[in-house]
C-alpha cells in the first residue's frame, strides 16, 4: 500500500495541488512533490490527467463474511420516549434493506417503551426490545455490552445509530470491541449497486469537504448519522412485524460508571430538536439581556430559541441551545437567524432547514447565501417590527 509518483509522467501542471485536502502537494522544479501525512485518499490520482500518481491499494481481503445479513437501526430513547432520529433512520434503513433485499431490525434499550408497534408501522420487520429499569437512563456501559452481545449473536451486515451525544460516545466502543470500521456523523447513506457495500458520506474539515467512506473487509458496516438529515417516513398501520423481547442479564451486563444525577439546562418550553420554528441569535445580539427580544419573538411564533457559538461562549445562553457543528443539528420548517454571520460551522447545523430567514446588517454576510429570505438591517429594528406585525394582525 502507498502512493507512487511517476516523475517521468509528471508534467508539473499543478492540477493536483488543490485536490489534496491536506495541502501536501508541491511543485518543485516542475515536478510534483509529496510531503508527509498522506492518507491515500486518492483525490490527487483522480485530478491527474497524466496518470502520474498511483495509489496502490492494499491487497484487499475478499468482502467480509457473507453470513452477515440485515440492516439494524439503534433507536435511542429518553425516559421511555424514542427520539425522532430513530424514525429518521428507520425510513433510510428501510430503503437500504429493500435495496439489499434483506430485513430491517430495530434495537431498542430502555424502560417502559410502548412504541414497538409504531416502529413496525414505520418500516421495521423486527424490533429487539431490551426493557429494564436500569436501562431507563442512557447508560453507556450497559448499552455497549448489550449491543455487542446482540450483534455477535445475530450478525447484521449494517448497523446505524444517531450521531447524538449518546451515539457518538458509545457506538465507537461497540465498533472497537468488534474490531470493525465506523464512520462518524454521516449525512448520506447509499448502497453501491456494484459491490453492495454501504457508501457512507460525511463532512470533514468543519464541513468544507465531503468524504465517501466504505468498510470493505470487516462486519458489520457501522455509521452514526446526523439527526435531521433523513426525513421521517409515513406510518402504515397494517404492516406486520415481530417484537422480540431480549433478556437484560444483570450478571453479564454491568456498568463500571455510575450516573449520579442529571441537570436539565433547557430554558425554553419548546425543545430545539422538535421545534417547527427556531429563532436563533448570534454575536450580533450583543449581550445576554438582548436575548429577551428574541425570546419574545419566539414566544409569539411558538418557536424555540437557538444560538450560534459566541453567545454560548460568552455565557448569554446555555450550550444546549447551540446550533452547529459542535452543537445541535436542526431542520425546522423555519429558521430565523438574527445577527449570525453564517460561518460553515454554524451552517453545518441548520442549512437543511426548509425555510431560512436571515436578518443581518452586513449585506455581505455569508448567511444570505443560504437564506430563502434576507433582510439587510438592524435586528433591533427589524425584530420588534416582526413582533408588532405578528401581534396586530
Amino acid at each position: 500500500m502507498g502512493i507512487q509518483i511517476d516523475l517521468d509522467k509528471c508534467v508539473g501542471c499543478g492540477e493536483c495541488l488543490s485536490s489534496c485536502p491536506f495541502g501536501l502537494l508541491e511543485i518543485i522544479a516542475e515536478k510534483v512533490y509529496l510531503r508527509e501525512g498522506c492518507t491515500f485518499c486518492g483525490a490527487c490520482q483522480e485530478a491527474c490527467d497524466y496518470q502520474a500518481i498511483l495509489i496502490e491499494a492494499a491487497a484487499e481481503a475478499p468482502a467480509a463474511g457473507d453470513s452477515y445479513r440485515g440492516v439494524w437501526v439503534f433507536a435511542e430513547q429518553r425516559n421511555g420516549k424514542l427520539k425522532s432520529v430513530a424514525y429518521e433512520l428507520l425510513s433510510r434503513g428501510r430503503q437500504l434493506a429493500d435495496t439489499l433485499g434483506t430485513e430491517l431490525c430495530v434495537i431498542c434499550f430502555g424502560h417502559g417503551i410502548n412504541e414497538a408497534q409504531q416502529l413496525i408501522a414505520y418500516g421495521a420487520d423486527k424490533v429487539y426490545l431490551m426493557d429494564a429499569p436500569a436501562l431507563s437512563s442512557n447508560q453507556d456501559d450497559l448499552y455497549t455490552k448489550g449491543l455487542v452481545e446482540l450483534i455477535e449473536k445475530y450478525k447484521p451486515e449494517i448497523v446505524i445509530a444517531g450521531a447524538t451525544s449518546l451515539g457518538r460516545s458509545f457506538i465507537p466502543r461497540v465498533a472497537a470491541i468488534l474490531k470493525t470500521g465506523l464512520t462518524a456523523d454521516c449525512t448520506g447513506l447509499e448502497i453501491d449497486p456494484e459491490t453492495g457495500l454501504l457508501l457512507q458520506t460525511r463532512p470533514t474539515f468543519g464541513g468544507n469537504i465531503m468524504a465517501t467512506i466504505i468498510c470493505q473487509t470487516k462486519r458489520p458496516q457501522m455509521s452514526t448519522v446526523r439527526p435531521r438529515v433523513f426525513k421521517k417516513g409515513t406510518p402504515d398501520g397494517r404492516r406486520k412485524g415481530q417484537v422480540i423481547r431480549v433478556d437484560f442479564n444483570k450478571q453479564r451486563i454491568t456498568s463500571r460508571t455510575k450516573l449520579l444525577s442529571f441537570i436539565d439546562d433547557i430554558i425554553e418550553a419548546v425543545k430545539l430538536e422538535d421545534a417547527n420554528i427556531i429563532v436563533s441569535g448570534g454575536r450580533g445580539v450583543g449581550k445576554a439581556e438582548n436575548f429577551q427580544l428574541l425570546e419574545e419573538l419566539a414566544g409569539v411564533m411558538g418557536a424555540a430559541l437557538g444560538s450560534s457559538r459566541p453567545p454560548v461562549d460568552d455565557g448569554w445562553v446555555p450550550y444546549s441551545h447551540q446550533v452547529g457543528q459542535t452543537g445541535k443539528t436542526v431542520c425546522p420548517k423555519l429558521y430565523i437567524a438574527c445577527g449570525i454571520s453564517g460561518a460553515v460551522q454554524h451552517l453545518a447545523g441548520m442549512q437543511t432547514s426548509d425555510t431560512i430567514v436571515a436578518i443581518n446588517n452586513d449585506p455581505d454576510a455569508p448567511i444570505f447565501e443560504v437564506a430563502s429570505y434576507g433582510i439587510v438591517g438592524d435586528l433591533f429594528k427589524v425584530v420588534p417590527m416582526l413582533i408588532k406585525k405578528l401581534k396586530n394582525d
Partner: protein, 264 residues
C-alpha cells in the same frame, strides 16, 4: 497521579475557504497547529497534576513534524512527550489510531487518567477516545465539562449531553474526552519555553511498540476513503426590498402565504 494526554497536530483549517471559480480549497498560509480541542485536554491534565500531584505525559501519533506540537505542549505544562511515528502508521483510521495509541499507553504501564479532546478539526470524528478506552479495557466518559473530584480511585465528573449535564462517577483508570467549556488553556511560560527547547522527545516506531503491521496504519484500518468532493452550496434566496418596516411586513406575509406560519 499519572495523566496521559493524547493530542494530534492538524492543519489550522478554520480559514479554509472554497474558491467559487475553481471549486477548490483556498489554503494560503495554513500552518499546522495543536488540535484546538486537545489544548483543553492538556490544560486539564496539568490542572489535575497541580491539584493532586503527578505527571503529565503527552502522546501524539503522526509524521515527524508532529514533534512541534509536542514541544508546544511541553511549553504549556506537559512533563514528558512521546511521538509515535513510523511510515507504517500512515493512513490510519480511528480503529488503527486507537490501537496504536493503546499500545503506547500500555508500554507506559502506569496511567490513571487518559484525556482526549472531544474531536479533531480535520477528521471530526471524536471516535479515538472511546475506541481507545475499549482497546485498553477501561471505562470511558465523553464530553466532560468539569472534573469535580478525584478521590480514592474514583473520579466524579460533569459531562454535557444534549439537554443538560450528567454527573458521573467512574473508577480509575479511565479515559475521558473534554469539551472546551472545561477550562481556559494557559499560555506558555518562559520556563516552559526553555524546557520545550531542550526537551528530548523519544520517537516510538512500530517495532518499539511491538505492533503487528496489519493492525496499524492503512493496513489496520477498517474504513477507506474512496472519494472526496466539495459540498454543493444549495440555493440563492431573495433579499427583500423597500424600507425596513415594509420588508418586515412582506416577510410575514410571504411566510403566511407559503403556510410556513399560521395567521391571518
Amino acid at each position: 497521579m499519572n495523566i496521559v494526554v493524547c493530542l494530534k497536530q492538524v492543519p489550522g483549517t478554520t480559514k479554509v475557504n472554497i474558491d467559487p471559480q475553481t471549486n477548490t480549497l483556498v489554503r494560503q498560509g495554513i500552518k499546522n497547529i495543536v488540535n484546538p480541542f486537545d489544548t483543553y485536554a492538556l490544560e486539564e491534565g496539568v490542572r489535575i497534576k497541580e491539584r493532586y500531584e503527578g505527571k503529565v505525559t503527552a502522546i501524539s501519533m503522526g509524521p515527524p513534524q508532529a514533534e512541534e506540537a509536542l514541544r508546544e505542549v511541553i511549553s504549556t505544562g506537559a512533563d514528558e512527550a512521546i511521538l509515535l511515528s513510523d511510515s507504517a502508521f500512515a493512513g490510519a483510521d480511528t480503529l488503527a489510531t486507537s490501537h496504536t495509541l493503546a499500545r503506547a499507553i500500555n508500554k507506559l504501564k502506569q496511567y490513571d487518567i487518559i484525556i482526549c479532546g472531544r474531536q479533531t478539526i480535520d477528521g471530526d470524528t471524536g471516535q479515538v477516545g472511546p475506541e481507545l478506552a475499549e482497546m485498553l479495557g477501561i471505562p470511558f466518559v465523553a464530553y466532560v465539562s468539569k472534573i469535580e473530584e478525584i478521590d480514592n480511585g474514583y473520579m466524579r465528573v460533569k459531562r454535557m449531553v444534549e439537554d443538560g449535564h450528567e454527573v458521573i462517577e467512574t473508577p480509575l483508570p479511565t479515559v475521558i474526552t473534554v469539551v472546551k467549556e472545561i477550562n481556559v488553556p494557559r499560555l506558555p511560560s518562559l520556563r516552559g519555553l526553555a524546557k520545550a527547547r531542550s526537551a528530548v522527545i523519544p520517537i516510538w516506531t512500530a517495532q518499539e511498540l511491538g505492533v503487528d503491521k496489519n493492525m496499524v496504519g492503512l493496513s489496520g484500518s477498517a474504513t477507506r476513503v474512496i472519494r472526496v468532493f466539495f459540498p454543493q452550496r444549495v440555493h440563492h434566496g431573495e433579499i427583500l426590498q423597500g424600507d425596513l418596516e415594509s420588508q418586515a411586513n412582506s416577510l410575514i406575509d410571504k411566510l403566511r402565504e407559503a403556510k410556513i406560519i399560521s395567521g391571518s
